[in-house]
Assembly symmetry: C2
């Protein structure tokens, strides 16, 4: 597997791990999103315990307003973060 | 580093590796795109030597029509592939 294939596979595995915790296995509810952010993106939310931050993130990601984050909505988050980190990295 | 941070970092490193080969270090020209696809996404193009396939891919990715694929355009490709592979993986 190439590095890019590994990166893509890792994104899928991370999503499946947290979306599969409870309820609908194909998407993340708010608790699952909080757990994912706390463990996988610790720097994203200074303090994920701040209910508001995770609420805002869910709102921003949940385009179809079903109170769940599906894989496409998850990848939009990862993409936005990756582009902004890459911009910072190249300065 | 978490798995998701590793995946994001890998995407950045893969892009930097191929975009840095020649010319503008911040984007991939057609030769760099071909080399990236051949090595990193061998299954994407049955036979990347088919000039047409890489030409079509460049056309599809190069939104600002500067004959280069920048990081944001690259991540759009990775996102689209990841979402489609994830859909196939969950069937």
């Amino acid at each position: 597997m190439s590095d890019l294939e590994k990166a893509m596979s890792m994104m899928m595995s991370v999503f499946d791990k947290y979306s599969g915790a409870e309820g609908n296995k194909g998407s993340m509810n708010k608790q699952e999103l909080r757990a994912m952010v706390e463990k996988e993106l610790p720097r994203l939310l200074k303090d994920a315990k701040d209910k508001d931050e995770v609420e805002k993130l869910m709102d921003a990601l949940d385009h179809n307003k079903d109170n769940e984050v599906d894989f496409t909505e998850f990848v939009v988050l990862v993409t936005a973060l990756t582009v902004s980190f890459h911009g910072i990295r190249r300065r």
